[in-house]
Symmetry: C2
Subunit: 482 residues, 2 copies
C-alpha cells in the first residue's frame, strides 16, 4: 500500500484545515495550536471557525463550518468536550472526513467522558470520519510544514517518525532530538485512540517515504495480534524502536492513571517485541540514540568493532560498554596494524581500541586511520571518540597578547572539511560508524558530522549502545553473520 | 588528619611553582599548561625555567632552578622523558619536595621507560620528593585558582573531587559537568602512580573541606587492601562513586594497553566496592549524575518516592525507572490527597505520580504541591519533571504582531524566584529532591534550580538513577529505614 492510500495520510498532508477553538486570545490552547501551524509556515488554507470574530490571528474566520467556501481536508478540534459531538456532526455534514480531536476529558475522566467518547465514535462512524484523539496533542509533519501541537517546531526536516501515547514525548523533545542532529519527519500523538490507534499509525509510517526509522512510546498495546502482524511487516522494511514503560510495578500503575491503560508484564511485551522485530529500550535517551544510528547507518552485520580514540580512558570506556552489550572488540590483524603504523604517533597503542594518545596529523585521524579500520574485513563497524585537535589554542594565543582569530577560523573550516570527508568515507564503506564527544553542537566537529549523517553522541557509552541497536536490527532481520 | 598534613595538599595548594618545559612557543605542551595556570588566575609565584629566554609568556624566566630567588612549593615538569631525572635531581637539590611529572613515555612504553621510572623513583626517595605522575595530565584546584592541565577551566568553583586514571575524564568533561550545574573542587590525574597513587588521593580528598563527593575513574586498583581500608573510612564521611571499566573482556584488554593495568573481574571489584562503601556505576553519565545528587542532597533514608509531573508520559517514565532501580512509588495517603486537592486541576491524577496534566497556578507547582509531598511522612524523597509553564508564549504573541518582551522577561524573573523558593523548600525538608527537564541550562528553570542546589537532569530516567545513588549511600552507611 502507498502511504497516501492510508486514512492517516490526509491528516498529515491536508491542503485545508478547519480550526475549531482558536480565537484572538493568545492564551487559549486552540489559539496556540493555530499559532504553531502558522509558525511552521503551513502552505494550505486555514479556516478558523469562530462564532463572533471576523478574523482570527489575521485570517478570515467563519461563524460555522457550514459557511466555509470550499470543503476542508481536516478538522482540528480544540473545544470543550461537551461541544465536540456537535462540532464533529457539523464537520460530517460539511463533508470533512478527517479530524484531530485535541480536546480532553473523555474516557480518561470517568463515566461521563466515556459516554461522550462513545458518542463521537458513532458520529464518526455515521460520516465515515477517521480521527486522531481525543485527548491528544496533535500531529507534526515537517515535510508538509504542518505542526498542530502546543509547541513551536524550530528543528529541521528529518527522518524520524514518532508515535506516542504521551504528547509530551513528541513536543517536549523538539529541541532534544535536535541536539542529536535529528529532526522529525512526522509525529503523531495518538491520545485515547478512540478511532485511529497505534497500530494504524505504525502501518502508515511504515509506508511513509519521509520516515526512515520509527520511535514508539508505549503504555499499552490494545490490539496485540495486529501490532505483531503490522510490526513484523514494517520492521522488515525499516527499524522500529519502542520505549515501553508499563512493565514494572510503578510503571504499570502510572500508565493506568495516565491513559487508563492496562499494561502487561515485561515478559509478555518482550515476547511481542521480539516476535515483531521491534527493538525495545528502557529510556528516552536510548530511544532517540538508537533512532539516530538506525536512521543513518547501515546494519552492523557482525559483532566485531574497531574503536578509535585520542585517549585511553574514553577508549577503554567504549570497549567496556561494547563488551557489556555483547559486542566484540577483537585484536587487530598484523596487516591492519602494519597499515596503521605510518599514521599513528610513536606513543600510540594499536591494540583495539586504537589509542592515538594525541593527534599527530589531523588528516590521519579523520581519514587514513578510519579508512584502514573500515577496510579491514575482520571489522564490522567503527566507534570513534572525538577530541578537538587544537583545544582552545586561539585562547592561549590571545592570552599572550596575539590575535589568533584568523588562524582559528581557518582551523574551524579545515575541521569541517575533515568531518565531511570522514562522513563520506564512512558512508561509502558500507559499514556503520558512530562517534562520541563530550561536547554539543556548538562544537563544529559534532555539528558537521551529525549534519552529514554520522551521529555523534555525548558519551562513549551512548555511542556503544547506539551501535548495539544496529546489531539487534541486523539480527532481527536475519542479516547478521554472527 | 587534616588535609593540609597530607603530602598532596601542597601539590594542590602551592604558593610558588617552578615550571619546566614552558616556552614562548604556544604549540608546545608545557606552554599550554602554563597558559592554563595563568588563565585560571593563579595567585602565587611562577618561575618558568628556560635555558635561553629571559621571559616566558611575559613572566621572568630562569636558566636553571638553582637560580630562582626563593624556593618553590611545587615543580611542574613537562620535558622529554630523558630529561626528567636530571630535572628532578635539581629540584631535590634546590629543596623542592613536591612535583607533578606530566611527561610520558615511562612504564607504559616498555623496558627503557620502566628503567627511567625506576630512576626517578629513587631520586624522589633520596630527596623525599612526593610526586604525581609520570604520564599524567596534571591537577586542578578551583578553590586555589590552580589548573595545570591541558585545557582551560571556565567552570565554577565546586564540590566535586575527582581522581582519575585517565586525564581525559578530568579535562574533557570540564564543560560537561558544568551542564549539570557542577564544578570541580579538585581533580587529580594520577598517571602511572609511580609515587602518589589512587589510594593516597582518596585519603586526601576524604579530608579536603572543599570536596563533598568523590568521583573515581578506575582501570586498576593496585593496593587493594589499602583501597578498602581508606575508602571505608572516607565513605563514612562523604560519598565515593566509582566508574570501573576493567571488568569486561574488552575493557580489561583496553586497560592493559592504556596504562598497563591488570584489571580484575567484575565479581572481585564489586566485592571490594561493596565492602568499602563505594557506589559503582557503569558510565560517565551515571558517574556525574550520581555525584550531582550525592553532593547536594541528604540521604534517601527509605525507598518511597513521590513523583510530580506536568504530564503523564514523563511521570510514567520516571515511575518505571524507579521500579527498575528497586525504588517504590506508593499510593499517596488520603490525607495527602485531600491536602493536594485545592492545588491541582480537575483533570489531574493524584495517584503517584501526581500528574497535573497542566499547570494551573505556577505557585502551586513550585511551592504548595512539593511542600505537601515532602511533608508526607510516608514519602522519603521527591522527583519532579519540569515543564516551562508558558512555553514560548512571547513568540506566539510576537507572531501576531504584538511585542511581548516585557511580559516574557517578567515571566522569567518570576520563574527564577519560584525556583529559588522551591530549592529552599526542598533543602529545609531534610529529604532529597531531584528534577528532570528536556532542556539545558539555557532554560532559566534548569539554571536556577541547579545553581540553588537542586540538580536537574536531562531526562526522567537519569533523575531516577541519581536518586538511586542517594538510597545506595544511605544503605551503605546503615542509615536506611527500609
Amino acid at each position: 500500500m502507498n502511504s497516501f492510500q492510508n486514512p492517516i495520510y490526509q491528516i498529515l498532508h491536508p491542503e485545508s484545515i478547519a480550526v475549531f477553538g482558536a480565537s484572538n486570545n493568545v492564551t487559549s490552547m486552540g489559539t496556540q495550536l493555530l499559532l504553531n501551524i502558522i509558525d511552521l509556515g503551513f502552505r494550505g488554507t486555514i479556516y478558523p471557525i469562530h462564532p463572533k470574530q471576523k478574523k482570527v490571528l489575521g485570517i478570515p474566520a467563519y461563524p460555522s463550518v457550514k459557511k466555509i467556501p470550499f470543503g476542508a481536508d481536516l478538522a482540528l478540534i480544540v473545544v470543550s468536550r461537551e461541544k465536540v459531538p456537535k462540532v464533529l456532526e457539523e464537520c460530517g455534514q460539511r463533508g470533512i472526513r478527517r479530524a484531530i480531536i485535541v480536546s480532553g476529558g473523555f474516557r480518561e475522566l470517568g463515566d461521563y467522558g466515556r459516554d461522550l467518547e462513545r458518542e463521537i465514535n458513532s458520529i464518526a462512524k455515521k460520516y465515515k470520519i477517521r480521527f486522531i484523539g481525543p485527548n491528544c496533542i496533535g500531529v507534526i509533519n515537517t515535510h508538509h510544514y504542518l505542526n498542530t501541537t502546543f509547541f513551536p517546531y524550530r528543528g529541521k526536516t528529518g527522518f524520524l517518525g514518532i508515535i506516542s501515547q504521551s504528547g509530551s514525548f513528541i513536543t517536549q523533545i523538539f529541541d532534544y532530538i535536535g541536539r542529536l542532529g535529528m529532526g522529525f519527519s512526522q509525529g503523531i500523538s495518538v491520545g485515547n485512540e478512540a478511532n485511529i490507534d497505534l497500530v494504524d499509525c505504525i502501518e502508515y509510517l511504515g509506508d511513509c517515504k519521509d520516515t526512515k526509522v520509527i520511535a514508539l512510546y508505549i503504555e499499552e498495546i490494545k490490539r496485540g495480534r495486529e501490532f505483531l502482524r503490522v510490526c513484523k511487516k514494517v520492521s522488515s522494511k525499516k527499524p522500529i524502536v519502542a520505549y515501553y514503560v508499563g512493565g514494572s510495578e510503578a510503571g504499570k500503575k502510572a500508565c493506568l492513571s495516565h491513559t487508563g491503560s492496562l499494561s502487561g508484564s515485561d515478559a509478555i511485551y518482550n515476547g511481542v517485541f521480539k516476535q515483531s522485530g521491534v527493538i525495545r529500550v528502557y529510556s528516552i535517551e536510548e530511544l532517540f540514540d538508537c533512532c539516530a544510528s538506525l536512521g543513518t547507518q547501515p546494519l552492523l552485520r557482525g559483532k566485531k568493532l574497531a574503536i578509535l580514540s585520542t585517549s585511553g580512558g574514553p577508549g577503554a570506556a567504549t570497549a567496556d560498554s561494547c563488551s557489556r552489550l555483547n559486542l566484540h572488540v577483537p585484536e587487530l590483524s598484523t596487516r591492519t596494524k602494519n597499515a596503521l603504523r605510518p599514521f599513528v604517533p610513536r606513543t600510540a597503542s594499536m591494540a583495539n581500541p586504537v589509542d592515538l594518545t594525541f593527534i599527530k596529523e589531523v588528516s590521519s585521524f579523520f581519514r587514513d586511520i578510519p579508512q584502514i579500520l573500515l577496510e579491514d574485513e575482520d571489522i564490522d563497524g567503527l566507534l570513534i571518540y572525538f577530541l578537538r585537535p587544537k583545544g582552545g589554542l586561539s585562547e592561549f594565543i590571545e592570552n599572550t597578547g596575539n590575535n589568533a582569530t584568523t588562524n582559528e577560523l581557518e582551523g574551524a573550516e579545515d575541521i569541517r572539511e575533515h568531518c565531511r570527508d570522514l562522513a563520506i568515507l564512512a558512508r561509502s564503506s558500507g559499514k556503520p560508524a558512530l562517534g562520541s564527544m563530550f561536547s554539543g553542537r556548538e562544537e563544529p566537529i559534532v555539528e558537521e558530522l551529525q549534519d552529514n549523517g554520522l551521529p555523534v553522541f555525548p558519551s562513549p557509552e551512548r555511542s556503544a549502545r547506539a551501535m548495539w541497536a544496529l546489531c539487534e536490527y541486523a539480527r532481527m532481520r536475519g542479516e547478521s553473520y554472527d
